[in-house]
Assembly symmetry: C2
Homo-oligomer: 326 residues x 2
């Protein structure tokens, strides 16, 4: 952990009484002047840190920005997800950045955030709008020992973790639309793009690209999306602390990833099913060339959607566009 992250952790832990420069200096083995210099830098970034001879340093408020050291400090210790955490002010797409890192052999768990993406993308080559500082646009590199057809499990795990984090931080009730959307009140608030590099029988790496519409106002959405998309701020009625939400999401994702690779996917799937908008409904799936209509019956052990057609046949659906019938 960097000194900045250590200082922020210490300030957060001591939030009632504050912590003295002498104590920080001793704890981290650097001079009080160096502590003061780091505090000044954090203040420049927008961290409101008060100082008094009596109370020492206190963190009054953190700015609405993503700062790698701060995220690391908030996140705490995880097994895999977020062990390495990077923030870009702007990038084409965080998935592109992660893909380069993956090819350079970077270990799994690295997370890349961008305050804005110039070429954010969704499934099937669609565009994803990523306005600056209003959302969480990030990607996670995973290297699970899975077969390609099992990669859907990671999308399911990500959706479960995101739903849990949103419930906890924004105090709204999200629903999951198979395979990769999270909705609130029927409108999309999170998209997940799962990309993989694989041999025929084993995944080399998976990149989870995640977009969360956090503090967007209705006017921030393109006109054609306003009926389909929403944000946590619109739904909860209050702005959400993005850094806190990010930390909670990564912690939950770390826990659910551990369940998937530890052979406990069934537990994740159960939790997913309980929040799923798609199961138990009549749906139409557009598979590009082909359409399937039927009853969304269940999820199989790989995260595949099982649809019972009107002819009684069970169809295994991996992707495609799912429309829910009224």
């Amino acid at each position: 952990m960097t000194t900045d992250a250590q200082i922020l952790t210490a300030l957060r832990a001591a939030d009632a009484g504050g912590v003295s420069g002498a104590e920080l200096s001793q704890r981290f083995g650097i001079s009080r002047a160096a502590i003061w210099a780091r505090i000044e830098e954090l203040r420049m970034l927008g961290y409101d840190i008060s100082a008094s001879p009596h109370l020492g340093y206190r963190l009054v408020s953190a700015p609405d920005l993503l700062h790698a050291d701060d995220l690391t400090a908030r996140l705490g210790k995880t097994k895999v997800v977020g062990r390495d955490l990077r923030v870009f002010q702007e990038t084409t797409s965080t998935n592109d950045v992660i893909e380069k890192l993956a090819r350079d052999g970077v270990k799994e768990g690295v997370v890349v955030f961008a305050e804005t993406q110039t070429k954010g993308r969704g499934r099937l080559g669609r565009k994803w709008a990523s306005p600056a500082r209003n959302g969480l646009w990030f990607s996670v590199l995973l290297r699970p020992d899975l077969r390609p057809q099992e990669a859907t499990r990671l999308t399911v795990a990500a959706a479960t973790a995101l739903a849990r984090a949103i419930r906890r931080v924004a105090r709204v009730t999200p629903q999951i639309k198979w395979p990769n959307d999270i909705l609130i009140g029927g409108k999309k608030v999170v998209g997940i793009l799962t990309e993989m590099s694989a041999e025929l029988d084993r995944v080399r790496h998976v990149i989870l690209g995640i977009g969360v519409d956090v503090n967007l106002n209705a006017g921030d959405f393109p006109a054609e999306l306003r009926k389909l998309a929403t944000s946590l701020k619109i739904e909860s009625g209050a702005a959400v602390d993005r850094a806190e939400l990010a930390a909670v999401i990564l912690r939950e994702l770390d826990a659910d990833y551990a369940r998937v690779i530890g052979g406990r996917f069934a537990a994740v799937a159960d939790e997913w099913e309980a929040q799923c908008l798609t199961l138990g409904r009549n749906v139409t799936v557009d598979l590009g060339g082909r359409r399937i209509q039927g009853y969304a019956e269940s999820l199989d052990e790989d995260g595949t959607l099982l649809i019972r057609t009107q002819h009684g046949r069970l169809e295994r659906i991996i992707g495609g566009d799912v429309t829910l019938e009224k």
Copy 2:
């Protein structure tokens, strides 16, 4: 087509009588001096081109090297495979080169050959020896409209095309071992590594990495492989023209790829099954953590191997190591 490729094509077409400098000059719209300069360059590369006032230029023999223009000339017109063809003297792995091209948005069909690879690789991260000028080490970029689990079809198509080309050029009878090996007399002579980049429900690109042991002598194989691997030269008793073999392989691969994307995979699968060593045998499949024993019954519509276990259950096998029982 470059001028070199045009000249080589004209020389091959006129192989009995030869073709005059004047005729070449007129046909390609460049001066006789320029034709002469190109011929000189080809001679420097080892092309034995005779010239007489009477007969004009004649191609006596081509050197044992892979030359992009020559390969293009031999290949002739294809739909997809080999429309863009590049030869490297040395590279880490031709799959790596193609992957970079794929990310740069290069169109499907590009083929990269290397005279030698310093980091040739096989399935499951294994090494692949690629001694200089003795084999064909190449990769093909494809962008089929398939789902990830259908990518096995391309391995099946590649194996079929390779078997046909080897039968035709080397006059030996190859057999196919599911999913990606071609054997002669029980020893491996071709390996195919299929790598893909995909979303959950659609392939973005597939890279077929192909290694053919063409003119290796027994001593060229590492000691531990001598009982398991062989070359076309060893099996046919004569050196094989690598450039001719390469052209025939690419032409056949182009034809089989057209069958796969044109909805005629069943025809490819039939041809594959007729040469398959694996079907109709008792096999053991090692899937890393798990072993499956049973009878290799058939191939399904995706190219998946169906194995009937002793309990009567049908297992769908996508990868793994298959051992044939005696």
